[in-house]
């Protein structure tokens, strides 16, 4: 997939509205929408940059998507951009979720509501999976090569998804081994 020339947001206000728009489309997780909006539609980031920033957001404490918004905003407009992107991501969805919380008690027992939540959960799984598949080309130039990347991705899936090991140990453990492997490969 060829990358066309990258665009940039016009102002912190532009970042705020863009992150509000993508947050309001994110049911069960904002990441798939963020990838579609920031990489495919607005072209503010390449797939490689998106994966890099996601990796940083993943390793640091705190919600990945909040960390990503902060880092992306900071790269374009410094702390004002970080504030604009993060508050865009959180402000309107916060109002909506609190209104829903105030209404929820009356509808929690309705079977259709519980069923709708389950259906949305299945779609959220498909959205996350499609995001992972779309980001695969970002591994093309990886210092660890195809087999190394497939190995680390597979081990992570096994440890976190199937064996349910605590995320923090998997990220720190496998992450350090992967870091060391990539460091070693870059020397050659």
């Amino acid at each position: 997939m060829p990358e066309s020339p990258l665009a940039v947001p016009a102002s912190p206000g532009h970042l705020f509205t863009a992150f509000t728009a993508l947050a309001m489309q994110g049911f069960g997780g904002v990441l798939p929408v963020a990838q579609r909006e920031l990489v495919e539609r607005r072209r503010w980031l390449t797939s490689e940059q998106f994966v890099d920033i996601l990796s940083i957001g993943q390793v640091l404490p705190g919600p990945n998507i909040v960390n990503m918004a902060l880092i992306i905003g900071d790269r374009f407009f410094g702390w004002r951009g970080a504030l604009a992107a993060t508050s865009g991501l959180l402000a309107l969805p916060l109002v909506v979720v609190l209104l829903l919380a105030a209404l929820y008690a009356q509808f929690a027992e309705v079977p259709a509501v519980a069923g709708a939540l389950r259906g949305m959960g299945a779609v959220a799984a498909g959205l996350i999976l499609s995001t992972a598949l779309k980001l695969l080309p970002a591994l093309a130039g990886n210092p660890m090569g195809r087999i190394g990347c497939a190995g680390f991705a597979g081990l992570t899936l096994l440890a976190v998804g199937v064996l349910r090991w605590p995320l923090v140990w998997v990220v720190l453990g496998l992450g350090v081994v992967a870091w060391f492997t990539a460091w070693h490969r870059l020397a050659r």
């Binding site: 489309q25 049911f27 404490p61 919600p63 909506v96 779609v123 210092p143």
Partner: protein, 186 residues
Amino acid sequence: MNAVLLGTQGLSPADFLALFTHFLMLSMLAIGGAITTVPDMHRLIVDERGWLDDTAFTASIALAQAAPGPNVLFVAVIGYNVGGLAGVAAAMVGNLLPSTTLALVASRWGAQRSASRGVRAFTGGLAPVTLGLLAATAWILTEPVRGHPGAWALVAVTLFVMLGTKLSPLWPIALGALAGALGLMG
């Protein structure tokens, strides 16, 4: 719940301080997102202080995941159910201030050294782990509906829409909500 939107649910200033400081600490432990600290939030809010019962605690998380926006907003819903809008402020500011400050500092530090071998090895090494985590998240999200063929059909339709069309993710979300409301997810 509506009547207490602006109230404090009988919590004292010391209670709000305890909520705030506990969430400050959890913020720095939340590698992989705030959701990984849920067991410890539960310990404080349900087991130790009795501010919420089990059902209200779990419903707070489910509700935030169904609403638009980042999943971390479950922290706001818990804060709201514990102590109204003051609870929202204590929980959200406590939960986000330390981690966002660290993210800003760490990202700037890394950006200044983006050409160095250490930083290139870091982002290169972590990239496949990150994609593996996305696949693991997808797998875990299917857990409540794994036994239903309809759920797999929904996953397949979602993959097709996202990989093969330019449609917004709102369309498969709406389809999933409709299919679930009609009872197709058991």
